[in-house]
Structures are given as C-alpha cells and as structure tokens.
Symmetry: D2
Subunit: 105 residues, 4 copies
C-alpha cells in the first residue's frame, strides 16, 4: 500500500482522519452486502458465488486501508493485534464467560 500510494503521489491525501473516513466507507459497503439477509443463513449464502466474491473484495478494502493507516500512524499492526488478543484472553477467562456474550453498555 505504501508503494501503491507513493507511485501515485497520493500520500498527501492519507492523513489519519481521511483514512478513517475511507475505512468507514468500506465497512459501509460491507454492511450493505449483508443488511437484509436473514442472520442465520447469511454465512451459508456467502460461502460461494457472487456474495462470496463481493464480500472478499470489501474485506480486502478494509484491510488495505487499515494497513495504510497503521503505516501512517507508525503502528506495528500484527504486534498490536497479538497484544490485544492476549489482553482479551486474560480479561475474559474461558471458564467465567463460557457461552456468554460480553455486554457493552
């Protein structure tokens, strides 16, 4: 993404707020693909065909902007994810939260 951006002289557009808006746009496109599908059959419908193709494209767009944003912010994304997951593992012990969705309030 850095090379892609620099070859096009697009770094000037990639301040954090603009990239977060781009990320928002891609998550929005992903949401639109699934919004009216029944919750229980959505995964199966997306396992092949047109929806599988389109979902892959939108997930890819989200990842590409996420990687670019991490680059601009000087964040090691893989390291941050491993640390976050380790933190969540400690915060939600499997025995205590088994089968229970953590509530956000």
């Amino acid at each position: 993404m850095r090379a892609f951006t620099e070859e096009r002289d697009w770094a000037q557009f990639h301040d954090p707020k603009s990239l977060i808006l781009a990320l928002t746009g891609e998550v929005g496109e992903l949401a639109e693909l699934f919004q009216w599908l029944p919750a229980d059959t959505a995964a199966n419908r997306a396992h092949e065909g047109h929806l599988h193709q389109r979902a892959g494209e939108e997930l890819a767009d989200v990842l590409l902007y996420l990687v670019r944003l991490a680059d601009v912010l000087n964040i090691d994304l893989a390291e941050a994810a491993h640390r976050k997951l380790a933190g969540s593992s400690a915060r939600f012990p499997a025995q205590e939260v088994h089968g229970q969705a953590p509530e956000k309030s």
Copy 2:
C-alpha cells in the same frame, strides 16, 4: 481468534451481521480518537504517547474482527487483499492519476 472464540463458546454469536456490527463499533471507537484533531497534525500527535497506544488498540480490534469475519465467511483475507491491490493498480495507472484523488460519486 478462532481458538479464542471456541474456548469461550462464542461462535454462536459470530454470524456475519453481528461481526460487521462489531467491526462498525471498533471503527467508531477509532473515529472518536481522531474526530476533533486538526487534520494536519493528527498523524504527528499519534506518533507517540497515549494516542499512539489507544490508536494501536483500536486498529488491533478492527483487525481481529476482520480476521474473524474472514474465517466465518471462508475468505482468504491475504489473498483477497493482494488481488484487490493488483486490480486497483491496473485500474488507476500511476501516470494517469498522479497527484489526483479518485472521486467517489
């Protein structure tokens, strides 16, 4: 994320629509970190300190739900991203779009 989920018996909550809502939530938290910062100094302010730490956590959350969603949809995320980037490279030749942001309408 798959192991983390299965240890907690949380796969029952991870249908695509629920995971996209979770992704929306994390992008929203990321947006809130930057919303009132001046566009031109936001990157510098996030290069260290509290904002760097918080941005890393939110980027991590976005990646973790993205990876989990790809798993549920049976999508190879890295492969999808490489294909998408190759497509964008062909669609936006560096010479033609140099210094010009592609318009969405």
Copy 3:
C-alpha cells in the same frame, strides 16, 4: 445544536469530515449495544429498561450530529428526506417489490 456549539466556541472543530467521524463514532456506539443480541428478539429487548434508555441516547447523538452536519453544509434536512423518500417510492413500486428486499451489489 448551532447555539450549543457557538456558546462553546466549538464551530472551529465542526468541519464536515470531523462531523462525519463523530457520526461514525455514534453509529459505532449504537452498533455495540446490539451486536451480540439475537436478531429476532433484539427489538423486544430494547422496548424497555436499560437497553431502551441507552439506545435512545445513541439515536439522539446520531440525530444531533446529523442536524449539525446539515447546518454546516447548508442542507435542509427535512426537505432532503422528503425528496429522497418520494424518489424511493417511485423507484420501488409497491407491487413490484412486495416482500422482496432490494439487493445491493
């Protein structure tokens, strides 16, 4: 919202991109309230109690930033909504789309 903003000298923060990030943040908070609830009982659970209260607060936040953004962009929000709904009514004749969700692709 205009008076609230001017009394606090916050108009300087309310450029369109910043307000869209704020809107994204509030939609994200709304998403988090519902993300892990079963689709078919979510509405009932939100008809009273804590979730009803919290959902009302987040819907309010979305509306407030939306109204503020319309003000900054010099858009008559009610007029725009009436025009859009009239357009959708013409585009999706009730007879033709009865019981069928319009697909986004």
Copy 4:
C-alpha cells in the same frame, strides 16, 4: 417510513441489527463523498453543485433509517434528542469548555 415499509411488506427485514447495518452503509456513503477533500475547504465545496446534491441525498438516507429504527425501537427521537442536548449542556458548561474540544479516550 412506516407507511413506505408496510406498503412494500418490508417490515420483516427491519429488525434493529439490520437497520443499524443499513445506517452504517449510508454513513459510509457519506464518508466516501468527503474522504479525500481538504478539511478546510470541504464545507465550501459542498455548499453548491453536485457535492451539495449528493451530500443531501446521503444525509437524507441516514435520517430515514434513523427514523425507521426509532420507530422499531419505540423511541421518541425528538424527545430523546432534546433530553440528550440538555444533558450535554449541563455536562459541558460553556465557560469551562470554551474553545476546547472534549477528549474521548
């Protein structure tokens, strides 16, 4: 929106999670309109012409799904917004926060 929905037998698609995904989609489309514009000239550029028209359509879509969601959740949106604004006015006294953006952390 209620009449529009019932005439098309679309209420079956309008559970809260689906409507929040639709809202996410519309906020995403709005974000895409502004993502690459310079922060300081975005408002002026949107004061007329094509961008003014498109922004109005997307703001309208956000409002329409917001109103529909409020209906499904049995929330009085105007009342909730007035209450929230009164709460924010008390929480952020104009004298104390003058010219300072409230930080989210």
